[in-house]
């Protein structure tokens, strides 16, 4: 019995009525990264990076250079005033190399292969014009790929996530720990940097799986056992946390037999994203919306997908897109619920387990809620079925559509059929005019 909400075949609000399948990869495609308004790069386990045109689906370049799977990719646009803007991408691979590519020419700019371990994450600090690579240690590089400084060997497991913090700091997730580093300029040169460990935060019970910066003042981390901690970005103190949900004693209203069915995998915080007000968390199969001000979950969909949600993103129009291992992409809308007396209210705690109608439990929980707070819920407005395997990631291009990548080696560009149709008409009449077949008399 599945409790996953379904929408059926009639999806009025779903704009994506046209798709393009982009073939090229020969293995799982794990990363999509936007280069500019109409280009993106894809990379995955086959070690090849493809550059695509997001409008036409045209394959622009096929970048070969890595011999193993790609582990991290980051765009790096130069903001030098002196030279014109060049779009670069940095890729790290399991072959222990990092390559910088030029997106305009599709050529390899430079390659670094002096790593002792696989680089698992890359972060570009545009402000300082440097980039960082995180493996078993943390290295700081400048644009010309000079190693500026590096930390001592941290751990064999390596840094799993990096996030930039204010005041030249970075937070690195290393296992269960969160380490704050500070970059400081050396006295003897303009390009010299030092990196020092400032603080270690050990509040998480399990490996930190996701790390996201919300704004200049806060960042959020999530761990494999479903802890969510909101940190102050300036003094690195814990502002709030939702970490006790897996302790059934805290939630007497949760039925015990359901609690037993929980496995760490299903409580893992897979991905976090945020807008100014809320943090959106993909936890297990569910999606949770955590309001930073109210410091509580304001809406949730416990079983948003049939299996783990891998990536979520908030759109500007109160919509949320999620993709999952079950191969589907779903579009949600965060709606304010009409406050009716008997209306069920979302839970005030982070996780609530159960089969069947979640509403009943929510209803019980709602009694504890304050009556005057606005209540939200996530409404399924559309789903995109196309991939035959887990959808690893997606990239939202606004009007241009949505690119999804999957373990079935494919990338699918989902497009608004209406818009594409009128664009084609426009092209058609342009071509007619060009060919001189038609005299446009307006």
């Amino acid at each position: 019995k599945s409790s996953v909400q379904t929408i059926g075949e009639e999806q009025i609000q779903n704009p994506y009525t046209e798709l393009l399948v982009l073939k090229g990869h020969q293995d799982i495609v794990r990363f999509l990264v936007q280069i500019d308004d109409c280009r993106f790069a894809s990379a995955g386990d086959d070690g090849i990076i493809f550059l695509w045109n997001a409008q036409t689906g045209e394959k622009l370049y096929e970048l070969h250079g890595h011999t193993h799977k790609i582990t991290a990719i980051a765009p790096f646009s130069s903001s030098d005033v002196t030279e014109e803007k060049t779009d670069l991408i940095i890729t790290a691979s399991a072959d222990r190399t990092v390559i910088v590519w030029d997106c305009a020419s599709g050529r390899q700019v430079q390659k670094v292969s002096c790593f002792h371990s696989t680089v698992k994450c890359l972060t570009v600090l545009q402000r300082l014009n440097v980039w960082l690579s995180g493996g078993s240690d943390l290295c700081v590089w400048n644009r010309k790929l000079d190693l500026l400084c590096k930390t001592t060997h941290l751990t064999d497991a390596g840094i799993s996530a990096l996030v930039e913090l204010p005041k030249n700091c970075v937070a690195a997730a290393v296992g269960k720990e969160l380490i704050i580093f500070r970059l400081s300029a050396t006295n003897n040169g303009c390009e010299g940097w030092n990196i020092v460990e400032v603080k270690r935060l050990v509040d998480h019970q399990d490996n930190i799986s996701s790390l996201v910066s919300v704004n200049d003042l806060t960042f959020v981390t999530g761990s494999h056992v479903g802890e969510l901690i909101v940190w102050d970005a300036l003094d690195w103190t814990k502002q709030a946390s939702e970490s006790n949900f897996w302790d059934s004693s805290v939630h007497p209203d949760v039925q015990p037999e359901i609690k037993l069915s929980q496995s760490p995998q299903e409580t893992s915080v897979q991905h976090l994203t945020s807008d100014k007000e809320c943090v959106f968390a993909a936890v297990g199969k569910g999606i949770y919306v955590y309001n930073l001000q109210m410091k509580r979950v304001i809406a949730c969909q416990r079983t948003a997908h049939d299996s783990s949600v891998l990536h979520i993103e908030k759109l500007s129009n109160r919509q949320l897109i999620s993709c999952s291992e079950d191969g589907s992409v779903r579009i949600w809308e965060l709606r304010e619920k009409q406050q009716l007396p008997a209306e069920p209210v979302p839970t005030g705690f982070f996780n609530m387990w159960g089969f069947g109608r979640a509403n009943r439990q929510a209803n019980q929980a709602a009694k504890k809620m304050q009556e005057n707070t606005p209540v939200y819920f996530l409404e399924l407005v559309g789903d995109l079925i196309g991939h035959s395997s887990a959808v690893q990631m997606f990239l939202y291009f606004g009007e241009l559509g949505l690119a999804t990548c999957s373990a079935d080696h494919l990338i699918i560009l989902w497009k608004d059929g209406e818009r594409e149709s009128s664009l084609r008409s426009l092209t058609l009449f342009k071509k007619l005019a060009q060919n001189g077949d038609l005299q446009l008399k307006l």
């Binding site: 009639e10 009525t17 982009l22 196309g386 084609r424 008409s425 058609l428 007619l432 005299q439």
Partner: protein
């Protein structure tokens, strides 16, 4: 299928052998009283009366230097075909008109024998006694052992229907030229090989003789030569002379392509051969697998030279080489293939052929939409440019002009230009004078009242037919090579002189038994000036509707004003075009269909002369041709919601009416006039050569598909939504256990599938593995295996997963799961109570309705204001409103029919904006609409 297909369906024997006598009865609604004297199943079109053969065939004959004219082979190679027809007699007849210059030998002033590269001649002749009419194509092949190194051959297309020969003359000529070119290429190769061998023999002989002479010299030191020695020396000298002669011959034959290339008229057959070769595969002679003439004469290393008795190269053996031996084996089979192809192409009634050609020509013009439902592969299969090279070189305007000229001026078989050129090669003074005086007069009268001329010619030809025994050469084409004329041509046989032809035109003919009369001679293309050529070939074809009762052939007099004042003409024509465009603008809706009705009867018109005022012809190459005047004319006058609507298009009756109006193709919607003018000139040179090699197979397929489709719409009550799915681009999966049943259903439904490009239909007949998203992009109709195995479970799982993109027709449980259909187009397309019984007829019915749909889609796609705002400030909603109004009110579409047209329009857009050479990513468009389950 544009031109009234329902009637044409019954005028043709699809399988001649089988259907000729086992024609199923006509459906009631088409029943026409049969020919009263005919027995069961007699075919009113079969001209069995006079002829002794049952169907058209191709005869290859040779004028053997030993036994005279003899038939070599017939195509089809079936004794039944020629029946009691006397091939020997007919060979004699056709070979006796071969009067081309084939003089080879030692021309005066030349030291060595000289090869003439003779052009083929093309002759039409009739033998009323035998009831046979033939297109005869003469050619010469080289043979080292033959007299003068040449062997005259001819290929003849023999038919009982003289009109067929006359009307298809140009096509026959084109096709036979290809065959001949192929044969001659092979022959040159073989001839060169033969020469090389001979040279080696001679070389060897010389060495032997030389050694013998040396030995004799050594053995005999008496200081004087013995008779023996002198003999040997003579022999040696003669061998050496022979070597030089042969070397020269070899040089000549090898230089052939280069000499030819200099000639602007050279048709490069070789590259095409190379292409075909690639298709044919590797089972051919490996030496022939390199393209290009230069490689053809490759050295054969395994040959061991023989000692030959020195003799003149000109003497011949007792046994002459067979045709196969004369020609390289690869080229020989190619030639036979080509001849078989010709036989297939021209099989059937001339009415059918003409209709086919007309619809093909029309189809070719619809370059924007024709890919959707028509098999357009034949359109670019063999472009006719080869033949009409001269035409290509001209700019579009000039072509336009020429085309309209054809309808403008009545035609004369013998035009000024042709006389001039034939006079050039046959300078017979007296005749020429006569000619010169006669011709201008003729053209004048033709200019003013061509009808009069017709009668005049008419009577004349009637007379000629009445002479029972005579063979009449109705039209011959005298070819001249582009090479400088050798003196030898002066010695042309008398028959070649245009005097006979002129006597014909001048209505002065000899009525004598057994005489051969050359009714007219035309120069081959090589002698026609470039700009003159395009209009020339239609001289014979242009009167395709000559009256049967008269029993004679009528030559529509035609003048070619372009000859003397080509420049002047162009400007004149330009102004004509403009005038015409203005006419179009002023066109009112009631008049709109009138010319079309006329068109239907056109083929039966009495004199076959186009009476329509001159219309500009806009060839299809221009791409988006038809909409031009219409859009220009109509748009400015409209704005607001109905903006961009042509007045006559507003009348949706025209578009929604069935049957008759199926002709309401794109042309009519915008430029109805060009439709007519093109119909008039369909038989002219721009008609694509009827090279539908794949057509025979396609024909069969269509018939079967139509039959299956008929069965499908009768059996399944939910045929409509299924067809709707296909037309709206939703992939239909036919699911079933039994492969043959599924394949049958897929075949049936395939006729409703719009093509996404010019390539193969997006139909997959049988799939056994699970489907993926990519498959739905590629295929719009899929036959899928239902299996009980675990793999089968996967297959079903994938189906349910992607169910939103699919309609599923379960052939086992007879259910259909697909969106609802409430429109009306499909009801007309697939009426289960239809009276149509034959598969091919139903196929054509479907095609005609689909053509209507295409025209709607075309209008929808290319109406500017339906897609783009009229002004900058106009909101998107009003454009959308206008668009929907157009679809609903103007095109008369209801409900789901709109989606069909939208989908077709989308395909048109994609096709149009697609850059050539760029494959383009296949799109998958879909709707989020609920599906329903239909059961029987």
């Amino acid at each position: 299928m544009i031109s009234a297909p329902d009637v044409v369906a019954f005028t043709r024997e699809e399988e001649l052998e089988d259907d000729l006598y086992r024609e199923p009865p006509l459906p009631e609604e088409y029943s026409v009283p049969l020919f009263p004297f005919a027995g069961q199943g007699a075919n009113p079109w079969a001209k069995v009366a006079g002829s002794k053969f049952t169907r058209d065939f191709i005869l290859i004959s040779e004028f053997s230097e030993q036994v005279g004219p003899q038939p070599l082979l017939t195509i089809p190679d079936d004794a039944k075909v020629s029946g009691t027809f006397d091939l020997n007699y007919f060979s004699l007849r056709i070979m006796s008109v071969d009067y081309q210059a084939s003089f080879v030998g030692h021309p005066p002033g030349s030291a060595y024998p000289k090869l003439n590269f003779v052009e083929d001649s093309k002759v039409v002749l009739g033998d009323s006694k035998e009831g046979a009419f033939a297109y005869v194509h003469h050619l010469t092949l080289y043979d080292l052992e033959a007299r003068g190194f040449v062997r005259p051959f001819c290929m003849a297309y023999i038919s009982a229907d003289e009109h067929k020969i006359m009307q298809q003359f140009q096509e026959l000529s084109t096709e036979f030229s290809k065959a001949s070119e192929c044969l001659k290429t092979g022959n040159r190769k073989a001839f060169a090989n033969e020469l090389e061998k001979k040279l080696k023999d001679l070389d060897y002989t010389r060495t032997v003789l030389h050694n013998e002479t040396e030995q004799q010299k050594k053995a005999n030191d008496k200081g004087y030569y013995t008779t023996q020695a002198i003999e040997k020396a003579n022999e040696l000298a003669s061998v050496e002379k022979s070597i030089i002669e042969h070397q020269d011959l070899l040089r000549q034959i090898r230089s052939y392509p280069y000499r030819k290339l200099k000639d602007s008229e050279f048709h490069p057959y070789e590259p095409e051969c190379a292409l075909e070769r690639a298709d044919v595969g590797s089972d051919q002679d490996p030496t022939a697998s390199e393209p290009g003439e230069t490689h053809l004469y490759t050295h054969v290393p395994s040959y061991t030279p023989k000692l030959i008795k020195a003799k003149s190269a000109k003497c011949f053996d007792k046994k002459l080489k067979t045709l196969e031996e004369l020609c390289d084996v690869y080229f020989f089979t190619q030639t036979l293939d080509q001849l078989h192809h010709i036989e297939r192409t021209f099989r059937g009634d001339v009415c059918y052929l003409l209709t086919e050609q007309i619809s093909r020509a029309l189809l070719k013009q619809q370059s924007v939409t024709n890919f959707l439902f028509e098999d357009v592969s034949f359109l670019d299969e063999k472009p006719p440019e080869k033949q009409y090279r001269g035409c290509q070189g001209l700019d579009q305007g000039a072509v336009d002009e020429k085309c309209s000229e054809e309808s403008l001026a009545p035609k004369v078989v013998i035009s000024l230009g042709s006389y001039k050129s034939s006079v050039e090669c046959v300078p017979i003074k007296m005749e020429q004078e006569m000619e010169d005086s006669e011709e201008p007069k003729m053209s004048e009268s033709v200019m003013s009242e061509h009808q009069e001329n017709l009668d005049y010619l008419d009577a004349d030809i009637k007379g000629s037919i009445s002479s029972g025994e005579s063979i009449e050469v109705l039209g011959t084409e005298k070819s001249g090579s582009g090479l400088p004329k050798s003196e030898s041509q002066a010695s042309l046989p008398v028959m070649a002189s245009p005097q006979a032809g002129r006597s014909k035109v001048g209505s002065r003919r000899t009525v004598s038994e057994d005489s051969i009369e050359v009714l007219s001679t035309c120069p081959s293309e090589s002698l026609i000036p470039e700009d003159f050529k395009a209009s020339y070939p239609s001289a014979i074809n242009e009167e395709p509707y000559a009256d049967d009762d008269e029993g004679g052939l009528r030559f529509t007099p035609r003048l070619n004003p372009g000859v003397d004042d080509g420049q002047d003409d162009i400007s004149k024509q330009e102004s004509l075009v403009q005038v015409d465009a203005a006419c179009c603008i002023g066109k009112e809706s009631p008049n709109f269909l009138e010319p079309l009705a006329e068109l239907g009867q056109k083929p039966c018109e009495e004199d076959g002369v186009v009476r329509i005022p001159p219309q500009p012809y806009r060839p299809a190459e221009r791409g988006y041709r038809p909409a031009e005047p219409g859009l220009r004319g109509a748009f400015p006058s409209h704005d607001g919601l109905s903006g961009g609507l042509l007045p006559y298009e507003l009348d949706s009756r025209y578009l929604t009416g069935s049957g008759e109006v199926s002709k309401s193709s794109l042309d009519e919607c915008s430029d109805s006039t060009s439709y007519i003018s093109s119909a008039a000139s369909t038989c002219s040179d721009r008609t694509p050569s009827p090279a539908h090699l794949g057509c025979a197979a396609g024909e069969k397929h269509r018939k079967r598909a139509g039959q299956n489709a008929l069965r499908f719409i009768r059996q399944y009550p939910f045929a409509h939504p299924a067809i709707y799915s296909l037309l709206s681009g939703r992939t239909l999966v036919v699911l079933g256990e039994d492969e043959t049943m599924v394949k049958k259903l897929v075949t049936a439904l395939s006729i409703f599938v719009p093509n996404c490009g010019v390539y193969a239909k997006p139909v997959k007949h049988w799939v056994t593995s699970a489907l993926h998203l990519v498959d739905f992009q590629k295929w719009k109709l899929i036959g899928l295996q239902r299996a009980a195995s675990p793999a089968g479970v996967n297959v079903l799982h994938a189906l349910s997963r992607y169910s939103r993109y699919l309609s599923i027709l379960d052939a086992d449980s007879k259910t259909l799961r697909c969106p609802l259909y409430k429109g009306s187009v499909v009801a007309r397309l697939a009426d289960h109570r239809t009276q149509i019984k034959r598969g091919s007829t139903y196929y054509m019915h479907v095609q005609s309705i689909l053509t209507q749909l295409c025209s709607k889609a075309f209008l929808f796609t290319f109406c500017h204001h339906l897609h783009l705002p009229i002004s900058e400030r106009e909101p998107e909603e009003s454009v959308v409103n206008r668009r929907m109004n157009f679809l609903k009110l103007q095109l008369g579409l209801a409900n789901e029919d709109i989606k069909i047209v939208q989908y077709l329009a989308e395909l048109l857009k994609l096709h149009y904006i697609q850059e050539p050479g760029q494959g383009g990513n296949p799109l998958l468009r879909f709707d989020y609409v609920p599906s329903f389950l239909y059961k029987i």
